[in-house]
């Protein structure tokens, strides 16, 4: 039973960032290519940082509804 996990956007950003840095570090790409990776990388870093510094803990409650659905409520 193989269970493929779906990655969230933060994880995908980090993965992409690591790949960019690997590519850049390999030293095989042209300056133009590296500059475009660089820009993409800086955007990803900004994105991730803003996510991390959004530091307020958010707690919600998952509740089962009678019709087999669910709803989410804010708590605290």
């Amino acid at each position: 039973m193989s269970k493929e996990r779906e990655k969230n956007d933060f994880e995908r950003s980090i993965d992409r960032l690591e790949k960019l840095v690997d590519n850049m570090e390999s030293g095989e790409a042209s300056l133009e290519q590296n500059l475009s990776w660089f820009e993409e990388g800086m955007d990803l870093i900004r994105l991730c940082q803003s996510h991390l510094t959004d530091a307020e803990q958010r707690v919600q409650r998952l509740i089962k509804k009678n019709d087999h659905g669910f709803e989410i409520q804010e708590i605290e």
Partner: protein, 403 residues
Amino acid sequence: MSHYQDCLTVSKLNTRIRNLLESKISDIWVKGEISNFHHHPSSGHMYFTLKDGGSEIRCTMFRMNNLHLKFIPNDGMEVRLFGMVTVYEKRGQVQLKVGVMEPLGLGDLFKSFEALKQTLEKEGLFDAKHKKEIPPYPKNVGVLTSGSGAAFKDVLNVLNRRASHIGVLLCSVKVQGEGSSEEVVEGIELFNQEKSVDVIIIGRGGGSIEDLWTFNEEVVARSIFNSNIPIISGVGHETDFTIADFVSDLRAPTPSAAAELAVPLREDLILGLTNEKTKILRIIQNQMEQRWLFFDQIEKRVSNQRPLRKIEMQKRAVSQIHQRLSLAVDAKKSFFSEQLNHLSKQLSNLGPNQVLERGYAIPIDQKGRVIRNSEQIALGESFRLNMAKDGLIAKKTSDIKDN
């Protein structure tokens, strides 16, 4: 009646008591409650007192016998012991040498625990190949426990301390008693339907084995196995092992520990990003510098190339020619001007001025012609007399016929 000669030493008495008891009271089951439990750290032997409402007896369970116990005995635990009565001769203390210990009243539970564990193990539910990877960077964490329990507060504290940027979704369920396992199963399914959490922490605080029983239920185990979202279990205390622990993707000793394992430290993530930033900045900077060096070299090489040098040489040639030409022109100019001087001198020698200098004059009529005889102009007509330095205007008054 005995005599003084039969007087025993204490040691001998105790030996006789021991022999008597060991031969008469062996292979017995005794039940009671454990107290003063002590597991000797170096020898591994267990020492405790077994008691009921009215009486107590010292018990010893040696290491070789307790090595394969399926649970950790504790004060207050009701147990059934199998063993023999003996005497610790040094103290004259009667005690029970324990060979087997079973939790009392839970005998059936333990049997079903073992049976279920074996069944699921055979089915492969515990196999490492089924363990899902715990996501390294979760954005949302699901917590499946009692919302009012201390365990949830602990989990929340740990999550907040380590990674306050991470969202927490609580599914509050009964964690013990009637209907508890159904609620846990529903909760796992709910998280899988809702799909927003990257990992689920399931667990509860410590309690008796009956309190923890929900996490030994087959439905719960299968539900954990079927979850598409990775599950970290943290049930009870460190020493509690449940079926849920075996089947979950990662087992933590406690709910707090599960929370620790579920999320990375926010500070570490920020540091990691800063490092990546420094790295790519450095790479780009290096490459820019390399590129500038390269440009400089190229420029040098290009400037050494033929085309430019040719142009330079042609320029030089042109300017040389120009120089020579102007020198030549200058030379010609002075030659001509000398010639001119010479010629003008000769000319002036040939001209009338020399004659005029000697006192002669040249008459010129009003039409500019030289007057060669008197008839050329009428009486009264004025004419000009050109002399060496200047001249004068004269008028014809008469003719002179004979000269």
